[in-house]
Symmetry: C2
Subunit: 490 residues, 2 copies
């Protein structure tokens, strides 16, 4: 359906991006925000064509896509606001002390853009984590040009959004190299983009295999560059005893919904639910199974994802001592994912790393631990996670410090009495987590702090006021928060 | 003189660190600061023994070592203060909006400690970037245990400081695993420390070869970890025409001092001075050469560094079209570094990467460019740098935007009309820079922002006030700056 971009074209695109970087890096915060708002305008102009194209390419329902477009627009608008506000610049000023021995010079520091950012969009969020998604929005806010590699699962959708961005750039009189859209299915296209000397950072949302490969390439460069790969998670949920006794049925209902939301195609899908053997756990398993039986299979994003779900589900169910609890009573048709709950005991789980891996789709496994000690062992054996959840009373939390600390240690977002699905776009969000959830646990890909991924500090020493960037001038003409002689002020 | 630590010992040390981490991560900001101040007390108790031991091991003069001890104490004290203040935690709170559809949960984010940090001390700063130096101080502030590999060039100094830290830990009732000191000269010790599964981050100051090796090992781990390696720099200085015409002699005097300060053994030593062919440049070269002739050779840190200086100096001087301008009129004796100035034309420099490399010691090369265009080309051909300096009038800066931007793009600290030697310990300092100056241009190793290297964000979703960490509680009992619903406040 579409052809791989050629090496010549990649070189030309990267040269244009590098040239554009030298213009765009000097764009004021307001100019960057205006550009992002112009993209919003153009996206809205795309109207129903965008929704309908995405529906055809992704099998996602209309309401979900409309919500996702709203979210994408909210991301652009809120990051534009954050960009203008400038808190993210981490502006710091220490004024000179000429009388000191030796004299202390005036030093002022702020974040500056890194350079062209290559973005690999995700298949499961055709708008919010693709062409004009979170990575692109944060790179533009940071002052970086963006090169998007279209996701092969929704190339038309991606092309429509790319046109919208290019229109916006044109209207804002920004150089054309500020954004480029290239197609590629082969390995080589991704590699050429990551290895190009003008590429300064990479954003990715997708599989572990894909993200880890980009990370390895980036580190093999002559000059290694940061890769922000969000590679999914099993998002463990721990059912603590007192809470489970009081609310097994409610938790089962809540989680039947969360496990199957969007046919389980979220990186925050709860793929693991850990409890302690008890009557309450049996009730929970029973109720969850019953609820799952009544949930219809849904069509998955594309054939590859549907096939992978069948394969990984089967692989998990075939492991020794894993039992099927329930599956949807309605047989799945082609490309559909069948809601499924499995179970295994804690000892078997700890020993078998196959069971620690994500099964991307409407699947979850209940791990039955002998006691709290075993539950702690399970937590300690898990890899890094985007999220972890406790279903717990206050007593449960207070009385099980070792478990709470072990769980906190492996996750980026720590939820109490909720579900991990649903990622709020706000400054306090951390959508990241220890490896292998992401390649860099220090940065988030959701919320305006995501802007910081594409910037680095520069300290200006002994510059006169008139030559400093506005962000660092004595008069603070932009009115941003800055730390002046160790105290925050405006 | 000392033996490599065994693998068994490394495993035991890391197990102790991991155990201690689970205690220390919960230490309050005040407790961490108290511990750091207790280290200061113990260091002061070491008295002259510490200075005399370091003098014997490093050949550094007494005054310099006393100053460096003062600096080390200032680092500990100022990072302790910053730790308590809590700005570095990046606390963010977004309160719940239950009426939203779907309801928005309460989310609160802050940085939490990563885990045990392995620190490789430097040879040129036996106090400030070694055992109780900047990396150790920032890791303790972040809430992480530290394992120091003693630098083989000053093992006794390192052992005395290590004892001081252990005494302080003991007095503060902290678990013994919070700090460990191991010896090692071989490759294997470094590798075992970096590859150990309990190691969560690495701090290093030293050569490119050493730092890059640690970085590669860290990325080859099953779970890659961050490496903060500061690997030195040539710290280019650009002499702009108007400034040079007005102050050639003064700049020569200033730089003769900076090039030879501490026998040139600073990572910020100006190894490259770039000017445009002119009478003023000839005057500058002449005056710089004359000043260098009158500066006596000094004893270098150890035989290895003195040998490397001789080899690299010779290698640079042997390159085609490189000319010796001047060297110290006093012949160096054993282990001494001879102050040296060389020169080369811009075209030759651009073509020969050997000339872009650091010659660690009292050496600098003046690059004579044909014109501003060539000076810009030189800037664009340089690798990443800790610092870059412009000697320039305001007119020079305003009229040469392309040069200014090209230089800013390659450096972490951008100095105007000063020298790069001398690194202030303050929040606005950025001691970092694009690869290969460091392995991570986003973080500084000097100033309290260095604390952030050893922490990662965790978002708490839907936690009741009483179960949240004090840093995130509604009442803000610690009185720290936090961003609440997108606005900074106390």
């Amino acid at each position: 359906m579409f052809k791989d971009v050629t090496t010549e074209k990649i070189n030309a695109v990267m040269q244009d991006a590098w040239t554009a970087f030298h213009v765009y890096r000097k764009a004021s915060l307001k100019q960057r925000a205006d550009f992002m708002r112009a993209i919003v305008f153009e996206l809205e102009e795309c109207g129903d064509l965008l929704i309908q194209t995405a529906m055809k390419e992704t099998n996602l329902p209309e309401a979900r896509l409309r919500n996702e477009r709203t979210r994408t627009i909210y991301q652009l608008e809120s990051y534009a606001l954050a960009c203008e506000k400038g808190d993210w610049l981490e502006a710091r000023i220490d004024t000179a002390i000429p009388g000191k021995n030796p004299p202390k010079p005036d030093i002022r520091k702020m974040l500056v853009p890194m350079g062209p950012v290559v973005v690999f969009g995700s298949s499961n969020f055709p708008f919010a984590y693709s062409t004009a998604g979170g990575d692109t929005a944060s790179a533009f806010a940071a002052g970086c040009p963006v090169i998007v590699k279209a996701h092969p699962a929704h190339p038309q959708t991606s092309a429509i959004v790319a046109e919208a961005i290019l229109h916006a750039a044109d209207k804002c009189n920004l150089p054309k190299g500020i954004f480029a859209h290239v197609n590629g299915v082969s390995f080589e296209v991704g590699k050429a983009l990551v290895m190009h000397p003008y590429t300064r950072a990479v954003g990715f949302t997708g599989s572990y295999a894909g993200g880890k490969q980009l990370f390895d390439w980036a580190n093999q460069r002559k000059e290694p560059i940061p890769v922000f790969a969000e590679m999914g998670s099993v998002n463990p949920v721990f059912l603590l005893p007192e809470k489970l006794r009081s609310a097994a049925a409610d938790i089962a209902t809540m989680y039947a919904g969360s496990v199957t939301l969007g046919v389980g195609q979220f990186c925050t899908n709860p793929g693991l639910i850990i409890g302690i053997e008890s009557e309450a756990l049996q009730t929970f398993i029973h109720d969850l199974g019953k609820a799952i039986q009544s949930i219809a299979p849904g069509t998955m994003l594309h054939q590859g994802i549907a096939d992978a779900f069948v394969t990984k589900r089967e692989e998990a169910l075939m492991q020794p001592d894993v039992h099927l609890v329930a599956e949807s009573a309605i047989a799945p048709s082609e490309k559909q994912g069948q809601p499924t709950i499995a179970t295994v005991d804690g000892k078997t789980f700890i020993k078998n790393p196959v069971l620690h891996k994500e099964v991307f789709g409407p699947y979850s496994m209940v791990v039955r631990c002998a006691d709290m000690k075993e539950m702690i062992e399970v937590a300690k054996h898990l890899e890094g996670q985007l999220t972890a959840t406790l279903m717990a009373t206050n007593n449960d939390v207070s009385n099980n410090d070792e478990l709470v600390e072990a769980v906190k240690n492996i996750c980026g977002r720590f939820i109490l009495n909720g579900v991990p699905t649903g990622v709020e776009v706000c400054l306090s969000m951390h959508h990241g987590g220890p490896f292998p959830a992401t390649t860099d646990a220090r940065f988030t890909s959701v919320g305006a702090d995501a802007i910081k991924r594409f910037a680095r500090p520069v300290a200006f020493q002994n510059w006169p006021d008139e030559l400093l960037p506005d962000e660092l001038k004595n008069g603070n003409p932009l009115g941003i928060w800055r730390t002046v002689n160790s105290e925050l002020s405006k």
